[in-house]
């Protein structure tokens, strides 16, 4: 099944997925999403685009992700700097924030699995491991 683009006709939130949210996360209206073309989604999101996503934006985003979860951002600041160098270099050189401790296969769908943050919850370095961490160590269990 192919993912599609959806637009909330009340507040113009955009969703990409097999199905849209039943309740819009922004305006809370139920059943407000209509399927749209990728090109329309590009126009709407393109107009909203601001400046580049900086390192500070990224740190903020991953800390927000970790809030209230069983994992946290690694407190080792030096390690984080190395990893941030990696993900930002990889984005610049290869198009997305690929994990610096993996290698992309050059198959687009497969490589989405290693965009940072990845789904490390299923990795053997994290799942069921006492002091578990994602493969590169950006996220660690609390």
């Amino acid at each position: 099944m192919k993912k599609k683009f959806w637009r909330c006709f009340v507040c113009n939130d955009i969703h990409y997925g097999l199905k849209p949210p039943e309740i819009c996360p922004t305006c809370k209206v139920k059943n407000a999403y209509v399927e749209i073309a990728a090109s329309e989604a590009k126009v709407i999101t393109g107009a909203a685009a601001e400046g580049p996503f900086t390192r500070d934006d990224f740190i903020r985003a991953i800390r927000a992700l970790a809030e209230g979860q069983e994992f946290m951002v690694n407190p080792d600041a030096a390690r984080l700097e190395t990893l941030f160098d990696g993900v930002f270099n990889n984005e610049q050189n290869h198009g997305l924030k690929f994990c610096p401790c993996r290698l992309r296969t050059k198959e687009f769908e497969e490589d989405l699995k290693i965009v940072c943050p990845c789904n490390f919850l299923i990795h053997e370095t994290y799942k069921g491991v006492d002091k578990g961490e994602c493969w590169c160590g950006m996220f660690v269990k609390r």
């Binding site: 270099n89 290869h94 610096p100 401790c101 290698l103 992309r104 160590g137």
Partner: protein
Amino acid sequence: MAKLLMFHGRECPHCRAMMPLVEQLEKETGLVLEKHEVWHDEKNADLMRSYRPVLTPQCGGQLRVPTFLNTETSAAVCGEIPYEKLKEWAQK
């Protein structure tokens, strides 16, 4: 083609941690590991990708660094591993 390869990433902390162990191994055993950085050298990346069918079953279904590969036996270990485990792989 060299027998023992190490695929690594410049910004991979696990790879950096393994470098002194690799140095120690080379000094102790006289073995040489041919090192290939994969995120800043596309030829090295293509080389690692060419071994994908051999590597992924041994490394959690993914191409990961650091990965140590014996090109003759196809035996591979990956990640930050203890010296003994690295030596065991190198000498098989």
